[in-house]
Symmetry: C2
Subunit: 341 residues, 2 copies
DNA sequence: AACGACTCCGCAAACGTTTGCGTTAAAAAG
DNA sequence: CTTTTTAACGCAAACGTTTGCGGAGTCGTT
């Protein structure tokens, strides 16, 4: 029944004055007499008047809302990015509208359209794995919507982006294995047509080269999910006697690998040291606790939204896009505890 | 620079007809002649006309947006609820606006206010741990905003809610321990002033009673985080010889407990069987893989949004609030593999 | 020839604000 | 006692839509 939020017009009618006077009184405009102000403000407070954001937004073509397109929410890395975004967005007075593409291209473009339709002030996005066409984001940019990418950014599009340095991260991880004595390191790799898989593999290769070891194609297995690890268990186990270290493209596959190795009596890290990439909560939960490089989701979120807000609020001059790259930091745990002389 | 999304008025001006005609032509109104329709529709398509959602929302006081207030996003359970919500919301044509309270009461009320200001069509929420005053949600309800609670719902407020049956879940878990031979079961409990902690403890107690065992206060330790487990490690270890099972109020504490036990040479499940509550991804990652009861986040999200949509779309008559309770299901893994005769 | 019935379209109000400008009355200046 | 200033307020347009109503013009019926 209430069903009717009180409006400025209502107040005006009841108080017998005009809507413009009410509006000005509420914002302390000098043209309004002190008594009128007091009266209006007191009454507004009494009836819990709140401005209608829809009307405001329409009037000033500004929604104070930023849109987010994220591949999937149920993923520790992405949800921690969200947490980082949310924190500074809230502090700066912005609301967030979150869309999840579910790694689906069509959904991604429809999300972009929806955010555009709702006139968000800016968009933060991370590409879906299936996105190869960028018309929708060019559409956003053509419409003057500020966009910044995080983690997964398109090639060849001029926009702000914040990413982590996969190449360096992989290098750090591999060097760590080397530093504890590993010489024959297996790499469980992601798909090489994706930047992330490719760069991590390159970092691994480069670290090996730096100490004079040539990349051995036998020491690379394409598998980047738990299921794939189990599917490749046989292959991994036959190599187990030969290798002394594993660098996995992400934590889940590192952990799965540890699970198959241990189930077959191979000791970690005594026999084989293992390191992952990502540092979700899984790493500390695993047995043995997994060494890894931390991906800094929260920080990434904060940087991204900060870039976006800057872009929104200084939209006067022409903006030259920036790229922030975060370097992952090594987290040493028991899966690579020093085990050789 | 584009900076100006094309509007109905623009189209009208260019085509030399009125805005109302354009509007009607776009929605195939019978009053418009076929040629005019074709002309308008063709032109609108050419310039990529898209209706301004702000204006639409204002006009029909309907935003097609539902608001969500969630304690924290970086939490597997909550993010899977979000995933469930998102899935059916998207299918039904709604956008979602997500606010995270960070378990903070003040933030929760400010979030509620923001959603109200933005005239969301309905609100889905899960209470922050620090919320004891419910004025803000009564405010929402008084304003006629449909609200449904999930997981953490307020007592004494008449509203839809979907929760899981903590009591039964705890009972199932405890009975499972009993079924494999455990007689002396330690309970790592949550705070008893919170419903969740209390009901899980009661379920545990009831299961024991059903097989004629009295609740032994010595077998209850208040600790529900990893850190608390480590802080109570001494206490737990001194009991380790005496007990044969542990039921923990959630998976993280169950896993932490396994970690301290194993580090001290106690075998799981041979010596002590362990079961948790929640079934996040941690459970399968743990060593040994953790038995637990599954909390069904996705399903909870789907049910909740469905309830909300029903409420939004049949808002004619007076609505009598429902409560859906989901019963958790047992997931047996190695941490409770049968170990006694 | 006149009248009704259609067809097709435009006017204007409305949603809730904000704001430039004009208006009124009282106060200050001459 | 005029005239100008100033204080305090209201009108109306605007943001982009939708929609009830009315108005032209056309056609068909008597």
């Amino acid at each position: 029944m209430a069903s009717h939020q009180v409006t400025i017009k209502d107040i005006a009618k009841i108080l017998g004055i005009s809507a413009s006077t009410v509006s000005r009184a509420l914002k302390d405009h000098p043209d309004i007499s002190p008594k009128t102000k007091k009266m209006v403000q007191a009454f507004a407070a009494k009836v819990h008047y709140r401005p209608n954001a829809l009307a405001l937004n329409l009037r000033r073509s500004k929604t104070n809302t930023i849109g987010i397109i994220i591949p999937e929410i149920v993923h520790h890395f992405f949800s921690s990015v969200l947490a980082g975004i949310d924190k500074v967005a809230y502090a700066a007075g912005y609301n967030v509208m979150i869309c999840q593409s579910n790694e689906d291209y069509d959904r991604e473009v429809s999300d972009a359209q929806a955010l555009l339709d709702n006139r968000v002030d800016g968009i933060l996005m991370s590409l879906s794995k299936t996105t190869t066409n960028f018309d929708h984001i060019n559409g956003l940019i053509d419409n003057g919507v500020p966009v910044v990418f995080f983690d997964r950014a398109p090639e060849g599009i001029s926009a702000d982006r914040v990413v982590i340095d996969d190449y360096v991260g992989a290098k750090i991880a591999t060097h760590h294995l080397i530093s504890i004595g590993c010489k024959k390191i297996l790499h469980l790799a992601g798909p090489q047509h994706l930047a992330i898989g490719k760069r991590r593999k390159e970092g691994y290769e480069s670290a090996l080269n730096e100490i004079g070891i040539d990349f051995n194609p036998d020491y690379l297995i394409k598998c980047d999910t738990r299921d794939e690890v189990f599917a490749n268990a046989g292959k991994i186990l036959t190599m187990a006697n030969e290798i002394d270290g594993i660098f996995a493209v992400n934590d889940s596959t590192a952990i799965a690998a540890m699970q198959v190795l241990m189930k077959n009596g191979i000791k970690i890290p005594d026999h084989i040291a293992v390191i992952g990439f990502g540092d979700g909560p899984n790493a500390t939960i695993a047995y043995p606790p997994l060494s890894t490089v931390e991906q800094k989701g929260i920080e990434m979120g904060k940087e991204a939204i900060q870039l976006l807000i800057n872009q929104i609020e200084n939209e006067e001059e022409t903006y030259t896009p920036q790229t922030k790259v975060l370097t992952p930091v090594l987290r040493i745990r028991e899966s690579t505890a020093k085990f050789k002389d």
